[in-house]
Symmetry: C2
Subunit: 334 residues, 2 copies
DNA sequence: CTGAAAGCGCTAACAA
DNA sequence: TTGTTAGCGCTTTCAG
């Protein structure tokens, strides 16, 4: 069943069918009704590939998201979707696995879907000029930036929190409560991810507060996984190092750590205080409720859209927006 | 940059370029290298739409998943993806929102991607013959079946647990511990979803155990949301009804309920015992660890793939597989 | 308001 | 081993 069949069945030309299918004006009511009737009768479904191939332009904005199941992005996506719709564009969502290349994905989408702009939700901090040269439409990085890459600030946009400062703040909360043996739970101290940035904030804070960086207090797992955080924490606890608190670089990892601590008989926050960064919904349901620095997800989403749309319309230049975090008091600090 | 440009630049014909791009045999080493060089130099990316349009067949198996962020499906998808790959096919994943129509999505995909078969991960229990008539390739429902629809059993496959029995079992665990005032937390008693099936199991169990169905003990929220479960439980608790335990139809909802109970000063499981169905990872990290009947996610995934592949190869007929659940003891039962 | 026809970028016979 | 060419199913001028 193709557009040709419908045309024949409806007794009109394919262009007329195409017009009614695309809500074009200049189609007589009679023709429209006739076509629609046939379309319904035969359950005709236009071929998307052919459609995209034939089209000369689109109103598509691409959103490529790292991590299919990352709850952190869910809220942002909702917001982004609504705002894009609202601005009169269409969101084309593409989720990719951890091993996929977001730049390549974006480049493909740009050509396939004729994108006008792109929003990256999560991604690497070290894109190079050469890599992004395959992308020819404006793009904005949401929740991260290019601090380990060599992009020109005038060539891309970003909206994120100050991860270094957030980590600093987290440590400061612990410090002000009197904690001096502050462990850090991270993915890798220099894995080029946001983990590294937040670790730098941790280091900076220790330094400012006159605390020595103790290698034994660095709990490094090689993922952002809740199960790995649990295992990693378990293993680390066996060393019996002296500590009074933990700064986890993400809510998810903190949740894994909580279980390990609890099983070890450590009371949170009496024996061990805990703070993290992110503010995902799940950590609100933990017992005790996780104390964490929340990223302003809605604002990040709407700002990101505001950016691409502005860029698409050529009304603004690339900007780098830093949004503030807010503390969710929770119950893991005392 | 199209295949034509590459052909010209490499001094060969488009078909030769197409051949090397698709790893066809019968291409001289020289030609292959030449083409690849140009492709790399210009960062050429083939247009997917054109590719799909031109192709006469594919090795694609479609997977349509309800709920972008449902952690329950994540593990299954991983398993399904691996198995499909393993069987020599390609997985085409499509996630849809709660308001989208999975049948329509599947029908579209079938045509666009030239699918050989489809796996539905989550979906409605009441498809009608007419609805699925738009689908012309074999499909299998994973984690659900058609018990509220009118499909012929010989026309589709399914792999799922016995939801009614699982609910029955859950209630039985509570009953055997001496609980008699068993509340049920569900989405809707007759919303046509799995909630309804599990509620039926709850009713059957009460009946078998000689307990009366008490309307006051039915906590109905209109979603599967953790936040809504929390709110709903909170609200219900204000009534002050007498109860000694809760059967939540899903882990996620149970997690919301736990917070509400805790805030009300109820100790779990001392004051209130709790059991659910699903066995998602997150509920393992709750404090106390949620007691729940786990769905065998890996098995469901691999069985689903075994089914489609068998159907595609024409080696088997439609089957309806029921897999057993296993109890995760947890800490919310005593 | 409608139709004919030329693409869109690629694949796949079919010849050579 | 290679090139020519006819589609794939749709959109979009351009005439009428």
């Amino acid at each position: 069943m193709t557009i040709k069949d419908i045309a024949r069945l409806a007794g009109v030309s394919v262009s007329t069918v195409s017009r009614v299918l695309n809500d074009h004006p200049d189609v007589s009511k009679a023709a429209k009704e006739k076509v629609l009737a046939i379309v319904n009768e035969y359950n005709y479904i236009p071929n998307t590939s052919a459609r995209e191939l034939g089209k000369s332009s689109s109103d598509n904005i691409g959103v490529v998201v790292r991590g299919m199941s990352n709850p952190f992005y869910t809220k942002i996506i909702t917001e982004v979707g609504a705002r894009i719709e609202n601005a009169g564009y269409t969101m084309v969502l593409q989720q990719i696995g951890t091993s996929d290349d977001e730049i390549l994905t974006a480049a493909r989408m740009e050509r396939d879907k004729k994108l006008l702009g792109i929003i990256f939700l999560g991604g690497k901090l070290n894109y190079t000029k050469e890599q992004v040269s395959t992308i020819n439409v404006p793009f904005v990085c949401c929740t991260f930036n290019n601090q380990y890459g060599n992009l020109d600030k005038a060539d891309y946009s970003s909206v994120c929190i100050d991860d270094n400062q957030a980590a600093y703040d987290a440590v400061e909360y612990l410090y002000k409560e009197g904690h001096r043996r502050i462990a850090v739970l991270l993915s890798g101290p220099d894995d080029g991810s946001v983990s590294q940035v937040r670790f730098a904030g941790y280091e900076r804070a220790l330094n400012d507060f006159g605390l020595d960086l103790d290698e034994n207090l660095i709990i490094s797992i090689n993922s952002f996984n809740i199960a790995d955080a649990y295992e990693g924490m378990n293993e680390w606890l066996r060393n019996g190092y002296d500590f009074d608190s933990v700064f986890a670089i993400s809510d998810n990892m903190a949740m894994g750590a909580m279980k390990a601590l609890r099983e070890k008989g450590k009371d949170i926050p009496k024996d061990v205080a805990l703070i993290a960064i992110d503010g995902i919904e799940a950590s609100e349901y933990m017992n005790p409720v996780l104390s964490t620095l929340c990223q302003p997800m809605d604002d990040m989403g709407s700002e990101a859209v505001k950016q691409v749309v502005g860029l698409i319309k050529g009304k603004i230049n690339h900007k780098h927006i830093v949004l503030p975090t807010t503390l969710r008091a929770g119950e893991t600090l005392r």
